[in-house]
Symmetry: C2
Subunit: 319 residues, 2 copies
């Protein structure tokens, strides 16, 4: 039953995080003081608390300053505005959900985009979907900030050589077919867009159906376009996908192993295990969790924000 | 019609040959005198003459000795036997076809396997098909010699990062589907076997039909097995193959571009152009010819033969 010679390579997020951290450490040497991150905790969610503790620990271990601000949720919008104008705060993160409603979206939009380590500001989100990679065209020295979890997945795919560095930057996924199971606004949809913008054909799957994200034949378009795949399901997507990325919340959901293509690369970004153990009999590479990479991306984004800053505390309307 | 932003990268064999030559140059430094190659020309074929001239030029430019021996074809078998026992000849190459019949096979078998730069000796061929990679198991210091053109294709795939070096050696094509059009004994069939032994699922296509070469689910077998794909043709193979390798002789044959998968890697090893120009609208990478790589592989094999030698001028029956 099981592959006798263990062809599947299980890759833990910690090992990937380590090589990214080395890169972040190099970057830290180029700036004059430790970057400072404010973390706003305004709920009683134990997962948010854990994430905050984890941020604190990772910052401390890696030469970043972290200040946790525990506030009442009704005060949070003012607190964010105050941090926007506080030179002490290089960046900030809000531990969501706060109101667990569309009001959280308003909070995201309150964060100054030049301090937004989560990459959730409207301009940053728009850049991401439009495949605009820099904040300062045409100079193109300041890279736009990408949301942490989708970027973590991309950094993992780079680490696994799924991005082909022989191809030109921006086209390194050309020829790849990738299924992303989850189309949330926070992770699944931005991830599908980023992968398609880098050249992949992406099948974005959720309970409502399948959407195809692609830049078209020969990557003829500068950014991805989306079309509905009527009548499609995992039965159609999985057998043709070399990469399967799943992030379905809850412990009930499992990606059907029998549909996964021989030698596929399987990545789970759910906090639960979306893949059955027998995925290792099919996959070439299996990444069971990505949290440790996500947290490094947070630091990387903060570093980038500081590096982007010197010559521009430019107002957002310049974009 | 055409991809507006030129997503396809056309890669010329010369650029790949260059990086392989650098590696060969490094290897030359480890031995005490230039390796000497005997070339046997026993026909009036202008293509063979050209190949011989090309060998001479490449040897000269890269610090190898080359001695061209023009002989009558009826004398060739004796000449080979004599070279087998001639310490002056480190390796030899015969420019085929000589008799253009099964008698050529006898000539191939006359060449001492320890001087066979073409990798056509029965023991070497057997090692290749059996996925036995060394001549001296279990020490495993002396790599078995592989036939030049198939190995050239493999080196090209490594150069293009189709071999994923994140995966373990011997499994770096796991998850890849590759169509090879041509199943000759000299190139197509050994190539399909080599690719499958490295983990790929290979569709080997010729006029008689399609065969599937694979190590089985989860690479469970140590070497590939072959099964006939009843009713299959290019219509089935091409749309699911990320790599298409074609080597059909003659200028009539063209791989149907419409069947090639978006973003495929397309490699031509025919002396004619097997791909239509519009392949560039579909492919991510297109390699129009491979000859310059093949000739470097010849030198690389010769170097390896010399490197393999010191402690064994062992008789073939030891294998």
């Amino acid at each position: 039953m099981a592959a006798q010679n263990g062809a599947c390579k299980t890759v833990l997020a910690g090992s990937i995080a380590k090589s990214l951290l080395a890169e972040v450490q190099e970057g830290l040497k180029t700036i004059d003081r430790p970057p400072r991150l404010y973390g706003f905790l305004a709920n009683k969610d134990p997962a948010a608390r854990m994430y905050a503790d984890w941020t604190a620990k990772t910052c401390k271990e890696n030469g970043f300053d972290f200040i946790l601000k525990e506030v009442e949720r009704e005060d949070l919008e003012d607190e964010i505005r105050s941090a926007n104008n506080d030179d002490d705060a290089d960046g900030m993160i809000v531990y969501y959900p706060v109101f667990d409603s569309t009001r959280d979206r308003t909070l995201q939009w309150t964060v100054n985009m030049y301090k937004d380590v989560e990459g959730l500001s409207p301009q940053l989100i728009s850049n991401m979907y439009q495949n605009i990679r820099f904040l300062d065209p045409p100079t193109n020295l300041k890279k736009s900030i990408l949301p942490c979890t989708p970027l973590a997945v991309i950094k993992i795919l780079e680490h696994l050589h799924i991005y082909n560095t022989f191809l030109d930057y921006g086209k390194r996924l050309f020829g790849r077919r990738i299924t992303v199971i989850n189309r949330s606004e926070v992770v699944g949809r931005p991830l599908a867009a980023l992968l398609a913008n880098d050249g992949a054909e992406v099948y974005s799957v959720d309970v409502t159906g399948v959407q195809h994200f692609s830049r078209g034949s020969g990557l003829r378009n500068q950014k991805h376009e989306v079309r509905d795949m009527e009548g499609w399901g995992l039965e159609q997507c999985l057998p043709i996908s070399e990469v399967v990325i799943s992030g379905v919340p809850g412990d009930k959901y499992k990606v059907p192993t029998n549909l996964i293509r021989e030698g596929a690369v399987c990545i789970n970004f759910s906090s639960e295990k979306n893949f059955n153990p027998d995925v290792k009999e099919k996959a070439s590479i299996y990444v069971p969790a990505i949290g440790k990479v996500t947290i490094v991306i947070l630091l990387r984004n903060l570093l980038r924000i500081v590096q982007n800053r010197p010559s521009t505390n430019a107002p957002a309307q310049e974009e």
